[in-house]
Symmetry: C2
Subunit: 281 residues, 2 copies
């Protein structure tokens, strides 16, 4: 499920993974910004609560998005594969300017929507400029390579991360969420040890990565994002390490980014938040 091809003259929409537990009652900086990059007061948000097993998850986000200025917010409650050909829901999806996947279990999203017209439509929408984001499980599934299961802890261990195919909006990153809260550096490093081509994004709660069409990530929210870049990895013992044992990895670059900081996925360069403008005289 690679990213859909982007037509000549178009650019893809924002991709917005959120680390979970984003603020909903205070400044709600992440969800507010999500509405902005989805068209502001013209935004039509399609909410997909497939990850959740709670009935009111979609309705809750519907209220929040309408309160934060979206003109429309519709819940599309796909909870089984048979419904994924429902034309009325697909029509609402196709008319959206922003798509938001709620939290829950990422395997519900990939196993219910994978290979269906819904998954294809979401990728096509993003390729033609529509913002696609999600929180927690909804964040994990945005990438081509999604962490489905994993062990907690700070040390990479062979087999400590089980990847599965996600919705494939991008394959440049592997996303992990509730990152500091659940001590997940080890499983993210394990995922990169398997194949160091991707960038690891460890998203704390109330932290979001707004990945622009220019492949620049900007951080929003009160939490931090841990960017793990294994491109310069010199050595990894993953192939000779028994499952469950710690993996030796040398030459990893790490950046801890907070609100306003950014990271260029092309150049693999981090930039701190812009310094305050110099006062004249």
């Amino acid at each position: 499920m690679s990213p859909a091809r982007i037509d000549e003259g178009c650019e893809r929409g924002y991709i917005v993974p959120v680390g979970g537990a984003e603020d909903k009652v205070g400044s709600a900086s992440i969800l507010r910004r999500f509405v902005e990059v989805s068209g502001g007061d013209g935004a039509r948000i399609a909410i997909i609560p497939t990850a959740s097993s709670l009935d009111d998850t979609g309705a809750r986000y519907q209220r929040i998005f309408l309160d934060r200025g979206a003109s429309e917010a519709s819940v599309l409650p796909w909870i089984n594969r048979a419904d994924t050909t429902r034309q009325d829901w697909l029509a609402i999806l196709d008319n959206a300017t922003g798509v938001f996947l709620t939290g829950g279990n990422q395997l519900r999203i990939s196993s219910i929507l994978g290979g269906t017209p819904v998954a294809k439509a979401i990728r096509r929408l993003n390729a033609r400029g529509v913002t696609v984001g999600g929180t927690s499980a909804g964040a994990a599934v945005l990438s081509e390579h999604m962490i489905a299961y994993g062990d907690d802890g700070g040390t990479p261990r062979a087999g400590a991360a089980t990847l599965a195919p996600g919705l494939g909006m991008t394959n440049r990153v592997v996303i992990d969420q509730h990152f500091r809260q659940r001590d997940r550096l080890g499983r993210l490093l394990t995922a990169l040890a398997y194949n160091p081509f991707a960038i690891g994004l460890g998203l704390d709660e109330d932290a979001a990565a707004f990945i622009g069409p220019d492949e620049r990530i900007t951080v929003v929210g009160s939490g931090a994002i841990t960017v793990v870049d294994a491109a310069a990895l010199e050595h990894s013992s993953i192939a000779s390490t028994e499952v469950g044992q710690p993996v030796c990895m040398t030459g990893i670059r790490v950046h801890i980014l907070v609100a306003g900081a950014s990271f260029d996925l092309h150049r693999r360069e981090a930039r701190p938040p812009d310094a305050a403008p110099q006062r004249k005289g």
Copy 2:
């Protein structure tokens, strides 16, 4: 590591996963056909023994390919990441008409070559028409989603397959090898339960899938290929099943294909070996 973009007017080369233990001394139908689709007596084969920890693996294939009519066969023994920028080896790779990855451990290939100029070059070569294949570990790694670890047995179980990013020549299939010999239907089904978008290819020993530029797979060798198509999956319990427990899956289509049979990845249609031409009255 998605497939490289194919230029206007070009078509990609064959992708050739082999299930391992292919015949090397008898008719060697698979390796012979590999030379044919790499240019026949003009074939220049680059052999990448990165998966193997044995010193003579590359040299052994070099002899076989030369015996089977290739004009050149070069071993490029990348065994650490530091060597992946060696220009002399990259030049030989770039001049190849066929690339062959040997068996061993697929995590050696992905962890040593992932994100390096070698991995990028292999994808670019395939996109411009060069055949890329491999046996056993070298087969597993050809796809975007590669089975890195897994449990044996016929039943899918949550967590029984650990996927990792492969070299990404295609993302339409998930490949498993030594399929019947190691009883791997369960882990292949598990991989598809995570996300049913892909086609599962279970390759027996001495069986190869020649995936043509038209996305048609033709079977070569004495073994069989088990094609598992989960596109019409009605239900999977993967998201609610505890790790290690069996997964309920309904609506899977399976085809068992032998030499000469084919499968169209676009249409998801299997075809038996062509019937003998009708004798005229």
